[in-house]
Symmetry: C3
Amino acid sequence: MRLVTNTITLATNRERQLVDVTQQAQQLVRQSGVQNGVCSLYAHGATAALMIQENDDPNIGEDVVNCLDQLVPKGVWLHDRIDGNGASHIQAGIVGPSETIPIREGKLDLSTWQNVFFCEFDGPRARRTIAVTILGD
Amino acid sequence: MRLVTNTITLATNRERQLVDVTQQAQQLVRQSGVQNGVCSLYAHGATAALMIQENDDPNIGEDVVNCLDQLVPKGVWLHDRIDGNGASHIQAGIVGPSETIPIREGKLDLSTWQNVFFCEFDGPRARRTIAVTILGD
Amino acid sequence: MRLVTNTITLATNRERQLVDVTQQAQQLVRQSGVQNGVCSLYAHGATAALMIQENDDPNIGEDVVNCLDQLVPKGVWLHDRIDGNGASHIQAGIVGPSETIPIREGKLDLSTWQNVFFCEFDGPRARRTIAVTILGD
């Protein structure tokens, strides 16, 4: 069993957006040499998350952010008295920072339309990080 | 440390439903011979997800689907201009495709009322798949 | 590769609350001696879940519970005819019971403001459990 750890670093340029990190994750899996196993991804930051989402239509990222804004609106939370980003924290918590993706034949075993997205809920930020842990043979 | 990979295949027969896949997952864990570790499950398809949910009352699946339909209604998303299933993608993204379940004494360590459900948000589909990765001793 | 399994036990004292379990999880990671790998946490109970959330402002837990109560209100589900806790099950399913957190340099690799919270959606309960599985070198 092999264990390989790494970090994906990215910048975000909007207050709220989904950023596709599939290519970076696939490259780390390839470099690891692991053929079968899992790739565990974890987004740092209590206003960030990871989401597996449709990869073909860039509008879907906007749809996700708009939907979460309707479900968890800004400015109505107890935490907003301290810091203006209560909604960002709640959204990040519901979506969640961790995804564990299978590795098969040396690649992330995503289906055709699935990609991995970093969810920025309180940007823009010059530096966001995702911990990558690859376990397998 | 042992690594065993497999796939659960299923058909769905409604547009939106939860399908219990606990028995198939338990069988793969048993066959693996792993006594302690984790079973990582991953649903393929950008309109599908996995959910751990109550296993005794079949109505709960209907409740989950109805709740998600109220929270993320059909037909109001940018993506719907391309493809009619924006709501399905958003719901799948929020619920998420991956669950990592402990294995103890050779079995999935679910509590009494927890089962594993495949969430179909854009069916019916003749063939859906869940990647299964078992890691442990 | 080392595999260490353990259990975090806790009591909840309110019907609905978030309970910080980061210290217990960090201690189990330290005791395991694992320097790099993952810590997979899994909440037992079909009305419970795990959430990574902001750790500095105790109000955020209340915000999360209030938000989920607005999104998934009590008393309007099919399951409520059998048992009064349909909303608790749906909320638990959406938040989800599993989180996989990286281990780096012998510690859970959480960011500054991220802690691990047990979500009680149908308490109080004298005994709730979280299965802990540590995999790594």
